[in-house]
């Protein structure tokens, strides 16, 4: 049904594009905002693949239900369970749709979609397009969006930055955004706003993320009243190439395709990798986790690598690095399956990983936390949670849609601000305390397609047209004066290390990486809190080096640094609050999971009066699967 009510989608990664396509198809005009041409969104970086139950795995005993179970277990029982169930049930349909859109998925010799193994599963259930799956999925959705753009149903605002939501009585009525070329600030009305703005790797300075992944947009929604869930749940990926400007990812697919992680058994063994005989290599993941081996989930692999290098000093040449070895595989096979990432390694390190093992180390990668969202439960509601699914056994329920979440319920993926939605990595849902590889692309597209339908129902009942213009003008003025305050600092002279935005960001990244990643502890977190407070204080006196009124990147960057500091504050406070270890969050002073107290979401709220962040706990939906210890069969 066509409507003149417009929806704003902020972000043109997989989540935003899927939402735009779904809404435009339903006849709703969409205004799409993106910092970059949407084809260059960060989703383009995703390498390994996208998970879904499939016919081959099904005949081997796998099911949508097992995918659901793996995801909840992988997330260490922190995710709301009903949404995960719905996502897993939808996954095969999403793959089929992408297939129809022309995504060049790798094929078997008979022409069916090929599959690979990925972390946290014993079944091949990951669909892929070489080693640039995200790029291929993004392009397919970009093309569909371009089709609607051509038909006038989607209007793109590329190189426009979302600055602030316009909220009236806890209901969103539009946004204020800035053209990054002309620097014009203006407001836009909408019946609903979808934040599909991705993750926040840049809070850590260097990460595997694109340099636009500051999390600033999410931070602004947070500062304007949206809650932020599980901020402390930051995924550190085990295998990345250390670099000066970025930590480039070597996808989990390298291990899924047979890559082995090892270090020399002898500490400080200076021989070249190829000269170290098999018996003198320590394949520590395979030895410690016989069932899953190299494809244990990320948080586990990361902690083991960290322990081997940092605690035991057994890294290659005594450095913080371990081998990721593919050299036992046929080079042509590797090119076909992993060409994209092997090229990256070769390009940036200058070594061909087909013939020499790669040297890798963990890096900040993904934010499970994000804007807090709610949902309406679907039709599957057992009397009580049932025990964990036994891998390969028959599923207790079928995969009909609507069992996990109620399709079209207006509140699916809606934040606590009415009409303000969070999709994709910006949404805190699905992944709990740790995301399984190849589940992010799925959650992004699922949000866009499934929760996009919820936006469609919501706008039928929401009428925001009466919101007074003065409200919009006030937010425009707020943002203009913020910008003017930044650029007016230029006349005060040269930035010093004390007030240089680049320096503040750098110190933030170093501190967050040291205190808030693989291992955390109360004293170290307290120290980080002091540092973040200091940086927030210094930022109040920040000084810019460019007052241009045309294409002022320094202004946009500095503004984002301020918003990253607020997110960092929430991450540190969430980490302090959670006095247990769960998934990616590991506290040396509380090494065990504590379900009685902490099988709950941490929810951060922002107090505009004193710009402070507070964190509380909120119950989660754990009504489907009973929690069990998450050991992945580790040998004692």
């Amino acid at each position: 049904m066509a409507t003149d009510k417009r929806v704003i989608v902020v972000g043109g990664g997989l989540a935003g594009l899927a939402a735009a396509v779904r809404l435009a198809e339903a006849g709703t005009p969409v205004d799409m905002f993106s910092l970059v041409p949407v084809k260059r969104s960060h989703s383009v970086c995703a390498q390994g693949g996208i998970n879904a139950c499939n016919e081959v795995a099904r005949q081997q005993g796998y099911s949508e239900y097992e995918h659901f179970d793996e995801t909840v277990y992988g997330g260490d029982f922190l995710a709301d369970q009903h949404p995960v169930l719905e996502m897993a049930n939808w996954a095969p349909r999403i793959i089929d749709l992408l297939d129809r859109m022309g995504v060049p998925f790798n094929r078997t010799s008979e022409g069916y979609r090929d599959l690979r193994l990925f972390g946290g599963s014993l079944f091949k259930r990951t669909h892929f397009s070489g080693a640039t799956t995200g790029q291929q999925l993004l392009y397919a959705l970009d093309e569909q969006t371009r089709r609607y753009e051509t038909e006038g149903k989607v209007s793109k605002y590329e190189f426009w930055e979302f600055l602030w939501p316009v909220v009236e009585n806890n209901r969103v009525v539009g946004i204020v955004a800035q053209d990054l070329r002309t620097m014009q600030v203006r407001s836009f009305r909408a019946a609903a706003v979808v934040m599909a703005t991705g993750g926040c790797g840049l809070v850590y300075g260097k990460s595997t993320n694109s340099i636009i992944c500051t999390g600033a947009a999410n931070s602004r929604a947070f500062q304007a009243g949206a809650w932020y869930g599980n901020p402390e749940m930051i995924q550190v990926h085990p295998t990345a190439i250390p670099g000066a400007d970025k930590l480039r990812l070597m996808s989990e697919s390298a291990r899924g395709e047979g890559g082995r992680v090892w270090v020399p058994r002898k500490k400080g063994d200076a021989r070249a990798a190829k000269d170290i005989p098999e018996a003198q290599r320590y394949y520590f993941l395979e030895e410690r986790y016989p069932a899953y081996g190299n494809i244990v989930p990320r948080d586990i692999a990361t902690r083991e690598i960290f322990a081997v290098c940092v605690n035991d000093g057994m890294g290659v040449n005594g450095e913080n690095s371990v081998y990721l070895d593919l050299t036992h595989k046929d080079p042509d096979y590797l090119t076909r399956k992993l060409g994209g990432i092997l090229d990256i390694y070769q390009k940036f390190v200058g070594v061909d990983p087909r013939f020499e093992p790669m040297k890798i180390f963990p890096a900040v990668h993904y934010s499970m936390g994000g804007l807090w969202t709610t949902f309406t439960k679907g039709s599957y509601n057992p009397a009580g949670p049932i025990p964990k699914h036994k891998s390969g056994s028959p599923a207790p329920i079928g995969s009909a849609i609507g069992q996990g979440m109620q399709p079209g319920a207006p509140n699916n993926a809606m934040t606590n601000v009415e009409g303000l939605y969070a999709f994709g990595e910006a949404n805190f849902g699905y992944h709990g305390a740790n995301r399984l590889g190849a589940n992010a692309l799925l959650s992004c597209i699922f949000d866009g397609l499934f929760c996009g339908q919820s936006v469609q129902t919501y706008i039928k009942i929401a009428d925001t047209s009466a919101a007074p213009q003065s409200l919009f003008d006030a937010v425009v003025r707020q943002e203009e004066s913020k910008a003017a305050a930044f650029t007016s600092t230029v006349s005060k002279g040269q930035p010093t290390p004390e007030n240089n935005p680049y320096q503040i960001h750098k110190e933030l990244g170093v501190e967050m990486t040291a205190a808030c990643t693989v291992v955390k502890s109360e004293p170290r977190l307290r120290q980080a809190q002091v540092k973040v407070d200091e940086l927030r204080d210094r930022f109040a006196r920040v000084q810019l080096g460019d007052a241009a009124t045309w294409t002022n990147q320094t202004l946009a960057y500095t503004r984002a640094v301020g918003d990253m500091l607020v997110l960092a504050d929430a991450i540190v406070k969430g980490s302090l609050q959670r006095k247990e270890s769960r998934g990616a969050h590991y506290r040396t002073d509380h090494p065990d999971r504590n379900d009685a107290e902490f099988m709950k979401a941490t929810v951060a709220k922002f107090n505009p009066a004193d710009r402070s962040v507070s964190v509380g706990l909120m119950d989660i939906d754990a009504s489907l699967i009973e929690p069990t210890a998450r050991t992945y069969g580790k040998k004692p």
Partner: protein
């Protein structure tokens, strides 16, 4: 079947190295600057201390943090475009030492291995400059709208899987589908000229990237239904006849996309399309629905 995919040698990444690079050395960046459309250009040179593995972007970041020229003059930070920093998003294209390429994958150790070496950075030539090294490439996306480079699916409701495909065909489509709209091919093309006026894009050369994507979608069983439209556009002004076969495009494509092969194939398809038009006159049902340009 897959052998032709890498028929073109990779573009030579760098001038021959002059021996091992010294970490901690100083490299000069001579940057072409311009404050905005219609503003005069100027050169500024910055000295940057480089570490092992530095690339052009990491050096530009250092300059941004402390924009002081070699003469000691404080200036504004250089403006540039970037995203992924791993040569997959296409944002960071610029002209480096006279050659168009991605700046994120441009390693300083290869380009300037010696103390005091200079690297020259200029914006792409065929697009209007927004500021400094940032150019406006919207014309490339407009060409994609013109050519309807998508698969016209019925909608997003479940309809089962897409068409089966052989691994060989997948490999060809995958290669073509890696185009990141970076603009190297058109910047190097003698037939693709700077055209700041969007009103003229409809009749200006679409460029090798767009021809190749037309081929990609003409190869797909559902995408093929729009082939007559694409071939019609490509037989008109700014279409395949504008290509002079200089083959510069294929030499600079960072994704090694077989562009000349695509051009040849589309050229033949356009000829067949025109012959068909003469013998079986049939209006193009999609010709009316033009993009906003």
């Amino acid at each position: 079947m897959a052998t032709h995919l890498n028929a073109t040698p990779p573009p030579d990444a760098a001038p021959p190295s002059r021996g091992p690079a010294t970490p901690g050395r100083t490299v000069n960046f001579k940057v072409r600057r311009c404050d905005g459309p219609g503003k005069p250009g100027r050169w500024e040179t910055f000295a940057v201390t480089v570490e092992r593995g530095s690339n052009v972007i990491s050096c530009l970041q250092q300059i941004a943090a402390n924009p002081v020229t070699v003469e000691g003059t404080r200036t504004t930070p250089v403006v540039w475009d970037s995203g992924c920093l791993e040569e997959v998003c296409g944002a960071c294209t610029m002209v480096i030492n006279g050659k168009v390429r991605q700046s994120c994958s441009c390693l300083i150790d290869n380009y300037a291995p010696g103390e005091g070496d200079t690297i020259t950075l200029e914006p792409m030539q065929k697009f209007p400059v927004v500021r400094d090294l940032w150019v406006d490439r919207s014309r490339m996306f407009s060409a994609l709208r013109r050519l309807k480079t998508w698969v016209p699916i019925d909608g997003t409701y479940s309809q089962g899987a897409g068409p089966k495909e052989t691994p060989d065909d997948q490999e060809i489509r995958y290669k073509l589908s890696e185009c990141m709209t970076c603009g190297c091919c058109v910047d190097a093309c003698p037939q693709f000229l700077l055209e700041p006026d969007p009103a003229r894009w409809e009749t200006s050369f679409v460029g090798a990237h767009a021809v190749s994507l037309a081929r990609l979608f003409n190869e797909h069983p559902t995408g093929r239904t729009l082939a007559p439209h694409r071939l019609e556009v490509l037989s008109g002004h700014g279409g395949i006849n504008d290509c002079g076969n200089a083959q510069n495009c294929v030499k600079v494509c960072p994704k090694h996309i077989p562009l000349t092969e695509s051009i040849g194939q589309i050229g033949r398809a356009v000829t067949v399309h025109q012959i068909k038009k003469i013998f079986f006159a049939r209006p193009d049902p999609h010709a009316a629905a033009k993009g906003p340009g």
